[in-house]
Amino acid sequence: MRYLPLTDEDRQKMLATIGVASVDDLFIDVPETARLSRPLDLPDHAGEMEVGRAIASLAAQNVDAGSVPSFLGAGLYRHFVPATVDYLIQRGEFLTAYTPYQPEISQGTLQTLFEFQTQVALLTGMEVANASMYDGATSTAEAVLMAQRITRRSRAVLSGGLHPHYRDVVQTLAIDSDIAVLPPKMEGGEDVGAFLDADTACVVVQNPDFFGNIRDLSEISAACKAAGALLVVVVTESLSLGAIQSPGEMGADIVAAEGQSFGNGLNFGGPTVGLLATQDRFLRQMPGRLCGQTVDVDGRRGWVLTLSTREQHIRREKATSNICTNSGLCALAFAVHVALLGEEGLRRLALINHEKAVALAGKLADLPGVAVLTSAFFNEFTIRLPSSAAAAVDDLAARHVLAGVPLSRLYPETPEFANALLVAVTEMTEESDMDALVDGLREVLA
């Protein structure tokens, strides 16, 4: 067994040093009734070749979004990840390192986390960001809990434009809280301010929202301030931060986002990387790991994990959260990709996404019976078909086009959404892909 260095001779020598006859003697504390005397009914060990074949045959049963025209978004986006990213994150010193609790031999991890925190703060327009969360949805839930601690109020108002999974996760994790969920509206533009009261800890608004709508949040921000509530802004497509005003500029108090668009592929939904950013005055209530700058005994600049007294390994039952891991390697991938793009590259990439989306929206609007419902959007918009969107998607899948996410997939109980389809476009969408979608739709709708 290739992963096990000990030989039978080694084991004998070790048993002799320990002073027992067999390894069974080391398991004497296990109750007899619980001891498994023979191996479980599982396959025996196998070589790389056999395992590789078996796993690859499972992979081959899938239609991967890279091999056919694909327009799926709804919170996770197919972007091009430069070859460099994957090679760098697979360097053994990054891949196989643990959490940087011994900073003298972890400056690699720590410096990259500091760079990541800076990138996130800059992109979101906020003062400080943490070293990542599991994903955008848990980040959003933690933002709500954070707002409750800061304001000492319980109520959270969730915009109808919040991703349904994020809504569900907030409701699950914000235990015993008063969560008001506003009804979803495909055209966006709800009057969130009307739902603020003296017990509101925060308002959670996604921008661009789940249906693609972009809006100016300054009014909501002002209304929140007047009510003593915090504004939590959620971003699921973090590339949008390269094209539209940042949540910080719009008055956000906390930003919870999904960073998957940079450096991280789709991976069937996980792992991804949650972003959490806020203003300096709320720092002590922010959960998750934080990397801070300092000096060593020689006066040289270096980095350490800091403000750990908020965390579970010190505060235990009084911790700000039970979170332990962050999404380290995914955060590194994000940092490398953003480093490669730089200011110019990131802004241009964002505009390319938008221009392609505008072009496709135009073509789709020309199809008989199809209406584009989103007037201002980044790279994703909602269209209404004359008939069931889920049926159209299945028909198109049979024609090898992954046409987008039918709203009914995430809103099964909302008949008004049955004909609506969420379409995402990225820099990877080619003209021929757009033609395949347009022609395909024309056929299936005829």
Partner: protein, 505 residues
Amino acid sequence: MSARTVADHRGLDFEEPLLFEQGAPKRSGVDLPQKKDGETRLGGLERQGEIGLPGLSEPQVVRHFTRLSQKNFGIDSGFYPLGSCTMKHNPRLNEKMARLPGFANLHPLQPTGTVQGALALMDALADWLKMLTGLPAVAMSPAAGAQGELCGMMAIRAALVERGDKRRRVLVPESAHGTNPATAAALGYQVDPVPGDARGRIDVNAFREKLGDDVAAVMLTNPNTCGLFEDAILEVADAIHGIGGFLYADGANFNAIVGRVRPVDLGIDCMHINLHKTFSTPHGGGGPGSGPVVLSKELAPYAPYPFLVHGDQGFRLVEGPEPGQSAAGAKPFGRLKAFHGQMGMFVRALTYMMSHGGDGLRRVAEDSVLSANYLLASLKADLSAPFDGPCMHEALFDDRTFRAHGITTLDFAKALIDEGFHPMTIYFPLVVHGALLMEPTESESVDGLDHFIGTVKRLLEKLKSGDVAHFQEAPSLTPRRRLDETQAARNPVLRWRPPGQAPKA
């Protein structure tokens, strides 16, 4: 602070500035097509002003991160006996499989018919976990161990709520990992710590005294954080079940018993498993992890969305409430993260399980326990071991020897760094003074173990000869020496700012 050489680098140890200190405007490490400058529909909300990101070319980015990686110690670098973390070898086959386009390029919301292979893989992994633990159901979605704990405890809470049974307390051993009480408290329970006994196990009498009708659960780690098997676990299980409560197990230490003991046979009702510990998915500098939770028949209905079902159309994920669901017995307590779970880690973990096989996994437990006992037996004359052996997969020592000679556990750990080792876990568990918790795992050769043991012994001789300064000033050979954590906490600097730009007050 003076430069160490003319260029201030030392051979392969480079002084590498931040990205933000190397950028130039208009430079980029990617080539993108020109934008068309056509019509935009951003609603007048275009981002004005600079984001502030630096521009670097590809070679600069590669060199930057390569140099940073060289300042890191990974499992690939050397012995990493970090107790409770299971720093075993991370096979590269796992990485290759996770990157197959048929997994890596799958969008979670594709039509179900186009992702049957992915769902089959999740099902296969679930089967292995159920077989290895003996529990009939598994919730796959938790993103990490701590989320797995939350999942297990939320299932317990949901079961009690459905019974109409209001229970307020959760019993947690004092030696438990901090996530245990944090999780219980997050769910609104009062955490009642149970002390350990003189043998390093949970004090069963104290446990019995604390039991009452208001106890929802006891959260045990087995083997426990002292590296010892909780031999009274069947008694604890009977006692908690007897008052209508549940036994939650923290599966962080599953590596010690995988393939040799099934948690179901210990009376465990639910247990989270750290795929990034027992099943070799990489630690990645702090994540991502994956924390599936095996559940008893009684708790299975409460597993969160999404969960896998198998019908005549093949596999399907149930992603939210559906008509007839609760009639079919499913009462999910909610959803823990967006989409379906850490699929990338599922691929890696299944690849590992299939590589080892059932026979290999049993060997993993045996070799990990053998190696830890080898360390304990070899070092107990030199270091102070608070509890008698045998231990399981990790060996615990306290700092008596160090204190007698004027240094701390921290000083000794830093001296080990100069010797080319990653230190063991220090100051955990809290129940022992100045704890050193060594978990060698099954991935270490006996030569490697002997080398470590020999180094520890020689360092102790150095200490006993009176060279206290060597330890207090360690490490001296690393890219950075001891860092000022007090300053980092008193004056937090958590991001780079351009020179001259003060943080907003």
